[in-house]
């Protein structure tokens, strides 16, 4: 981690970030050559770009994002998938790993089914298309869904996946984290309760100090008791 991105400074909309030596990144806007924060978040500087990392807000799909969706409607040649964002995403029959006859869509995915998918494209009016035609993308059978803010997904994953790996090791659950803030998990009932609690902890304390250690302590205390 470079030194500049270490300083975690809270910025509010309208705060001055830079007077022109850097380039405006995400969550910023330019007026009269000065860069201002456009949203509430944490200031970060990366390779001469000033960004504001949001602390909340809705998930806006970007191509390539791995997402966990829920089928909300079925058409003769597509499904409509809720991706936990203001924009529902159609999943066309050509984008699923099965060969589906016209009008036979309900046999493969029903309303309420959850699936792991990838955002294929997003156009300028934010019309989204998702695909399941890639390795690892599939319908998620069983398990549970936990929803958190999409901005906290990096915290749940942790540095090089350390946080999620730790939860998986302790709870023995299978966990998938979607970029849209939906987390799917499957495992032993009690283990899932613990995993959920750990995720809630991260969700609530995303901006606090020594979170990894606290989550570790929590998981350790739970599993020591059970032995």
């Amino acid at each position: 981690m470079n030194k500049e991105s270490m300083t975690r400074e809270l910025v509010l909309p309208g705060d001055l970030l830079d007077t022109g030596s850097m380039k405006p990144g995400e969550g910023t806007y330019v007026q009269d050559g000065n860069i201002f924060a456009a949203m509430l978040g944490i200031k970060s500087v990366k390779s001469n770009f000033v960004n504001v990392i949001p602390l909340g807000g809705r998930y806006i799909p970007a191509p390539g994002d791995m997402i966990i969706g829920k089928v909300i409607d079925i058409g003769p040649s597509n499904w409509l998938v809720d991706i936990f964002s203001p924009y529902p995403a159609p999943l066309h029959v050509n984008e699923v790993p099965w060969r589906v006859e016209f009008g036979d869509t309900a046999r493969y995915l029903g309303v309420g089914d959850t699936l792991l998918a990838k955002v294929l494209s997003v156009d300028e009016t934010k019309r989204v298309q998702v695909t399941m035609k890639e390795q690892g993308l599939r319908k998620l059978q069983g398990g549970q869904i936990v929803e958190i803010s999409h901005s906290k997904v990096p915290r749940v994953i942790g540095k090089n996946g350390s946080m999620i790996q730790m939860i998986k090791t302790y709870t023995n659950c299978r966990i998938m984290v979607g970029n849209n803030g939906r987390i799917w998990m499957d495992g032993n009932m009690e283990d899932m309760v613990h995993a959920k609690q750990a995720i809630r902890m991260i969700d609530e304390g995303a901006q606090t100090l020594k979170l990894t250690e606290r989550v570790k302590e929590f998981l350790e205390s739970v599993y020591r008791k059970e032995e």
Partner: protein, 257 residues
């Protein structure tokens, strides 16, 4: 307005009936993030005014014909609860609340980067729990904090305040008595950083000099309120500088265990 002008609302020492000086604001309390199920919320008290604002969205816009393919729409609903005034207010929208809703949504539409969220709507609900003059300003002040709390991109946090004329004097932040028996009321909302005016209405009469003085006073007071708004948000999102947390680019999907 324009009622009993022989009523004495300011004494010889320039002290108003609630003990304030002519250029003094009522005590203000702002709290951000008070509602759990809203995307963003704020509670504001300005003197005896108590206002709650909630923001939902950006979310899918219904009815569909209201969608704008180029940008988000900002929909605001200002509502006075029946018990907010001493005579029970008949519930439901009326001429006044429709007007205020429109004003506030237009003011917010100007500061929010709506083009980031085409086809969606950003819904703002303002509920006046207790009214004591200047609720549109209190409502807008609360709504701006709630918008920021919801993580919606915008140019700045907007404050609003009313200035008026009472006993031939320009006074800041009218209370109910001054509003009812005063000579003029001038609500103002600005973008603090640039000084752009987002909302300006005038009820009653002011001379050119009085108007200039009032505007000047209002802009100054807006800066004060702006600081309180920012303070409320900082309190809500107080960060402890962590050193061991994930770097934000570590977004790769972990393989299933």
């Amino acid at each position: 307005m324009g009622g009993n002008s022989d009523m004495k609302l300011i004494d010889e020492n320039g002290i108003r009936i609630d003990g304030r000086k002519v250029d003094e604001l009522r005590p203000i309390k702002i709290e951000a993030g008070v509602l759990k199920s809203a995307d963003g919320s704020a509670y504001v008290e300005i003197g005896k005014n108590k206002v709650l604002a909630a923001v939902y969205g950006p979310r899918e816009c219904h009815p569909r014909h209201m969608q704008n393919p180029a940008k988000a729409i900002v929909q605001c609903k200002y509502n006075m609860i029946s018990f907010s005034v001493s005579d029970r207010k008949r519930p439901g929208p009326d001429r006044r609340s429709v007007e205020i809703s429109k004003l506030i949504s237009e003011a917010m539409d100007y500061v929010v980067f709506t083009e980031n969220y085409p086809r969606t709507s950003i819904d703002v609900y303002i509920e006046v729990l207790q009214a004591n003059a200047g609720t549109r300003c209190a409502g807008l002040t609360a709504a701006a904090v709630a918008l920021a709390d919801a993580g919606i991109p915008m140019k700045d946090i907007i404050p609003a305040v009313a200035v008026g004329k009472v006993n031939d004097q320009v006074v800041l932040d009218l209370n109910k008595e001054e509003d009812n028996y005063g000579q003029a009321d001038l609500p103002i909302a600005i973008i603090p950083r640039t000084g752009e005016v987002l909302l300006l209405q005038m009820d009653g009469h002011l001379t050119q000099e009085e108007f200039d003085k009032a505007l000047d006073m209002g802009v100054k007071a807006c800066q004060e309120i702006y600081e309180l708004q920012k303070d409320a948000l900082r309190r809500r999102y107080a960060i402890v500088n962590g050193e061991d947390e994930a770097k934000d680019e570590d977004q790769e999907m972990p393989e299933e265990a």
